[in-house]
């Protein structure tokens, strides 16, 4: 029995080693070596030159995450209070756009937001504009929210459906107004969903390069664009690219551990019961 399970895990271990651990080590090696192959911390310190890009990435991703939470939370809650059938339909509708190519979806926003795009033309009919919609930070945030909102809603929903309706009734029964029911019961019980939703939106948003390139123009460079340039662009410098990736990874790990701090306040066992 024990031998069997051990044997069965071998392929997965191999997978992890080949596709996760080795690449990770390679990135670390690249980040700490120069073009001559010798050890150096030059790459890491060079990342400092891009502080403003990194800060802007974190800022835009944070805004997008906040907006997604603000939009996704009530929606997830409303969905979770409906019948199983209605829930399935709603969740399907939310995931529907994800069945289309990410590139295509973002490209569609380009044609909507362009100077001569659909929105500006419609506004033009009303004698307004044209407005500078595309190539703005706002457009980037919009693209992030549009693309990653489902990643906020799904984990929130999956935690919220497990909140027993009778627990909410118990709170009402004990004298809690709807607002207090929300803050004293629903919100604390959905904390695990909030933190995983935030992680699931923030992580891809902070490292995106497609959205910023297509909707942000040249002025809204993000960490992802920097990395992309070092590997595939004219700047070609995989060592610097690896260093930036490593920094990005540290940022994400930091964010996640902060989120987990919040999680610990909640008895997840109890919630899942």
């Amino acid at each position: 029995m024990k031998l069997h399970t051990r044997l069965a895990s071998v392929p997965y271990l191999l997978w992890v080693v080949v596709f996760t651990i080795i690449p990770l080590l390679l990135i670390i090696v690249f980040a700490f070596t120069g073009t001559d192959g010798g050890f150096t911390i030059e790459n890491i310190s060079a990342v400092g030159r891009y502080t403003d890009v990194i800060m802007k990435s974190i800022w835009l991703a944070a805004i997008a995450t906040g907006v997604s939470l603000f939009l996704g939370y009530p929606l997830a809650y409303i969905i979770s209070r409906h019948s199983a059938r209605q829930q399935n339909v709603s969740l399907m509708l939310i995931m529907l756009p994800m069945w289309m190519s990410f590139l295509l979806r973002t490209f569609a926003w380009m044609t909507l937001l362009e100077k001569t795009g659909v929105i500006n033309r419609l506004l033009g009919l009303a004698g307004l504009g044209p407005f500078e919609l595309i190539n703005t930070s706002g457009a980037v945030v919009l693209g992030m929210v549009y693309n990653y909102l489902p990643f906020m809603i799904l984990p929130l929903h999956s935690v919220m459906v497990k909140i027993d309706a009778s627990v909410i009734e118990a709170a009402q029964d004990l004298g809690a107004s709807p607002l207090r029911v929300f803050f004293k019961v629903v919100l604390p019980l959905s904390m695990p969903g909030i933190s995983s939703g935030i992680t699931m939106v923030f992580v891809p948003a902070v490292s995106t390069f497609i959205i910023s390139r297509m909707l942000g123009g040249g002025s809204n460079l993000m960490i992802g664009d920097l990395i992309d340039m070092q590997f595939l662009g004219n700047a070609y410098n995989p060592h610097l690219g690896s260093a930036i990736s490593l920094v990005l990874m540290v940022i994400i790990l930091l964010c996640m551990s902060i989120m987990n701090q919040f999680d610990d306040d909640v008895d997840v066992e109890g919630v899942l019961r």
């Binding site: 009778s166 627990v167 118990a170 004990l174 004298g175 809690a176 019961v185 008895d267 109890g270």
Partner: protein
Amino acid sequence: MKDVLIDLRDLVVEYDGERVLNGLSLQIRDKEFVTFLGPSGCGKTTTLRIIGGFIEPVSGDVFFDGKRINSLPPYKRAVNTVFQRYALFPHLNVYENVAFGLKVKRLPEKEVHSRVEEMLEMVGLRGYERRGVAQLSGGQQQRVAIARALVNTPRVLLLDEPLGALDLKLRKEMQTELKRYQQQMEITFIYVTHDQEEALTMSDRVIVMRDGEIQQEGTPQDIYNEPINAFVADFIGESNIIDGVMLHDFLVEFAGVRFDCVDKGFGEMQLVDVVVRPEDIRVVSPGEGKLTGVVESVIFKGVHYEIMVDAHGYHWKIHSTLPQEVGSFIGMTVAPGDIQIMHRMEAGE
């Protein structure tokens, strides 16, 4: 009635066009221990939820202390509930669960503390304050649920099959304790159960329900001794229910034999249901009683033997402290006062 606290008038509740409560009217007095008793699906929980404020009747009125409260939300009612599956707050510990209602009312921290501790003392959970509720046993969770409701000293406590999930011994213990809390705190208890024994032992008054209608209400003694129809008789305790004909006042014929009885006013030659409790049938020598039959089976039940007898075309259930031999002939008699006559229930009723 003078001290009526809750007055339900002609309540109708429908789900998907299906009538769940069918014109239910009921008055509940202050400080009374009332039990809704009936089979699963008869509308007990629905009635409780109307009193709690979780559903509004399609028609009919709910009066509380003389005021109509049909659409008053639950959080504004002086009523607390012990839910069927406890519904404790999983993210709060025992203390915080019990303190919830008091904190919501923004009572001073000190008063909250002393009242919570007092309540935990009463239910025997002193020292469990910091435990998570998920780590408690079923019986302990039950006590938290009771303490959480009672700490608010509501006018009325609603209890929806609160002991259903506990084992027999614990259930008996909790029955006694609940009764004690009720008397000690002088709170009206409205208790829901499908367990007739529980209803009979705890209540001042029992309301027997069926298909969204009240069948009978009265003291446990009334309900047991004078069931109003065969359904109540069958549901409350065990009984033999036989077709009969009321020949005239004080004389009934069933199983092909005439019996003196104490009932009158049914009219002559009226078809009736006759109910005889198993403990009211006396075993005598064959030929001595009015009924004679063959013993089909004998089962030892602890205090008594349950004896099934085939006689006059019916299977009779007898409770007797003496066993009988399977296959033997015995005689049976019933005293006039132990024969209960009730109007025949119409088919499908």
